[in-house]
């Protein structure tokens, strides 16, 4: 992890941590190696569960002392009762999902609050890459070339807020970070924010 990515990552994690009730039950969709959950356990004493498809990532979570489930997030959520978690986190996972709407609705069934964090595809640098260069954006998040990367379903802040209105999901709070991901941004977020975080409720 580059130092740059690390700073971005930690701002993101701090905001999520600020939103979380200490001691709450949290599911992280696409938990990776458990960096975020580990941080939340350390700082907020949450009861954490992660889910990811990859064996080595689950193994890394187990090594950190986290509990994590290897498998498909949708199947896992379907197997759990309503309101099983206080919060479901979907951070930097949304753009990799083929059917984010269904995932968010399922997450809102098993969780009281759903935290969604994603790269704003409407960020001006992303637009510029497409408009001036005719290229897929390459930046701190879209780090790979088109033929090797996973983010397949990018959304902009405007897209996401439209979706919430359409499905009548309540946005309890949000945070838009500027392109450096360090400071908050409130001016023209769909153009100027690089990263967006939302807390959704039913």
């Amino acid at each position: 992890m580059s130092k740059h990515t690390h700073i971005k990552r930690s701002v993101d994690m701090q905001i999520i941590a600020d939103w979380i009730e200490p001691g709450s039950r949290v599911l992280d969709l696409g938990c990776g190696r458990g960096v975020l959950l580990d941080y939340l356990v350390q700082t907020k004493q949450i009861h954490a569960v992660g889910v990811d498809l990859d064996f080595d990532k689950i193994s890394a979570c187990v090594r950190r002392g986290l509990t994590a489930y290897q498998g498909d997030m949708m199947s896992l959520m379907r197997a759990l009762p309503e309101n099983h978690f206080d919060r479901v986190i979907c951070s930097r996972t949304l753009e990799e999902l083929p059917d984010p709407g269904a995932i968010i609705e399922q997450a809102l069934r098993i969780g009281k609050t759903v935290t969604v964090g994603f790269v704003n595809h409407g960020y001006w640098k992303n637009r510029a890459a497409a408009f001036f260069l005719g290229r897929k954006p390459r930046n701190a998040v879209y780090t790979t070339a088109w033929f090797e990367s996973r983010p397949t379903n990018p959304a902009s802040i405007a897209d996401f807020e439209d979706f919430c209105a359409l499905r009548q999901l309540k946005i309890a709070r949000h945070a838009h970070l500027s392109g450096d991901w360090k400071s908050r941004n409130s001016l023209l977020p769909n153009l100027l924010a690089g990263y967006a975080l939302y807390d959704l409720t039913r």
């Binding site: 696409g30 090594r63 197997a79 990799e96």
Partner: protein
């Protein structure tokens, strides 16, 4: 996902060592033991081995549970001439995933078995004769309750981790249900909370092979005799269920036995053919032709030299009857009191206790609000994958224990 994440690479490891020479010991009690079915024996014996040492607080004990045909000898060797070490030697030892430099590792074989623990072939002190099928029927819970009495007797008051695969995994689950405050970590792999019809069906064919052998004689047979043919067939069939199509194909394919030698009394082939299994073999047509046949016959033959047919009946029955959901009303209810942090591991090519059955255990624990992880290892080695060398498995086990 979350590709940006990174992880500290695991520290370089010292070359894992060997447990070395070990000696089995016996826990013998003369306190009557009442089985789940209400029958009693005047005490019992459990044979066990230990590796490593208990620490001052005696809180570093790791309990290992064996599968159907396994025993207490899971690591090290009994003599310098031993060709094979204990059955989980690749996992257990100084510096290995279950590190005997840190942990006090214990393994007993189960009640109802025949490798030193009380079972049908043991002498009933009340009659001076082998129990035979007068031995009470055994459940997984009986196995676990006898193990608890053994641990109590040697002053172990908590288990750092309980680890087992297949039937051993059932014991892991039963331990954390039966003695919740005792078990800190539970690691169950290639197992199930209730067998599917297919697994019961395989066990039934094995039992029928034994029961239909005239030498079974309603369970009364001399120590070296008995239904050797039936037991060998049961083992041959069971052995197939431990492997996979892919692993058998890789190992044997359709390879013919070397040159399909002319049958001579001294040939390997006739040695491998089971004693008494074909005294009237119809000529050469059905001699061993393929290596896989030869292998299975060898497995059957070596099994009858170390296993008791009645024990096979008892233990497969215990496996078939294990049903945590039925016993407790639901799997979630079964796990209601569990305190252990649990890790369940499934293996993709396991068709005896398939990944989904392992997954179900993890999901039920999750629904019961417990700390549980589920991992699924991609292997093509079938049910026996949990016994085979796998750095990925070792890393996972090591990570869970540390």
């Amino acid at each position: 996902m979350n590709d940006a994440d990174d992880d500290i690479p695991s520290a370089t490891r010292s070359e894992p060592g060997e447990v070395g020479l070990v000696e089995p010991r016996d826990f013998i009690t003369t306190e009557p033991f009442t089985f789940d079915n209400g029958q009693t024996t005047p005490g019992f014996t459990l044979r066990y081995e230990t590796y490593g040492r208990p620490n001052a607080a005696r809180d570093n004990a790791i309990l290992i549970f064996h599968a159907l045909s396994g025993d207490h000898h899971c690591a090290g060797i009994h003599s310098l001439n031993d060709r094979k070490p204990g059955w989980w030697n690749n996992l257990i030892g100084p510096g290995k995933a279950v590190d005997t430099n840190k942990f006090f590792v214990l393994c007993s074989n189960v009640i109802g078995g025949c490798q030193g623990s009380s079972g049908p072939s043991s002498i009933d002190p009340r009659t001076g004769k082998p129990y035979g099928i007068t031995f009470p029927s055994v459940t997984i819970r009986d196995m676990v309750r006898t193990q608890k009495l053994w641990l109590d007797s040697i002053g172990i008051t908590s288990i750092y981790a309980a680890i087992g695969g297949s039937m051993g995994g059932m014991q892991v689950l039963q331990w954390s249900i039966e003695y919740p405050s005792f078990v800190k970590r539970a690691l169950a792999m290639a197992t199930t909370a209730r067998e599917g019809a297919q697994a019961i069906a395989f066990n039934e064919v094995g039992r029928q092979a034994i029961l239909q052998d005239p030498e079974w004689n309603h369970g009364y047979y001399p120590k070296s005799g008995g239904p050797r043919v039936g037991l060998a067939i049961a083992r041959m069939m069971a052995h197939i269920t431990y492997l996979s199509d892919a692993s058998m194909d890789r190992k044997f394919g359709r390879k013919a036995v070397a040159a399909h030698r002319k049958p001579s009394p001294a040939s390997d082939v006739s040695e491998l053919s089971m004693e008494g299994i074909d005294p009237v073999a119809p000529a050469a047509t059905f001699d061993v032709r393929f290596e896989v046949e030869s292998y299975l016959r060898y497995q059957g033959q070596s099994f009858i030299n170390r296993f008791d047919a009645n024990s096979y009946l008892y233990i497969t029955r215990a496996l078939d009857q294990f049903d945590l959901a039925a016993t407790h009303g639901s799997l979630e209810a079964a796990f209601a009191e569990v305190q252990a942090a649990t890790l369940v591991i499934g293996f993709t090519s396991d068709w005896l206790f398939p990944p989904d059955q392992n997954r179900d255990i993890a999901l039920a624990l999750l629904r019961a609000g417990k700390r549980v992880s589920y991992a699924e290892l991609s292997t093509d080695l079938g049910h026996d994958s949990f016994l085979l060398e796998s750095p990925q498995l070792y890393d996972l086990v090591r990570g869970f224990l540390n």
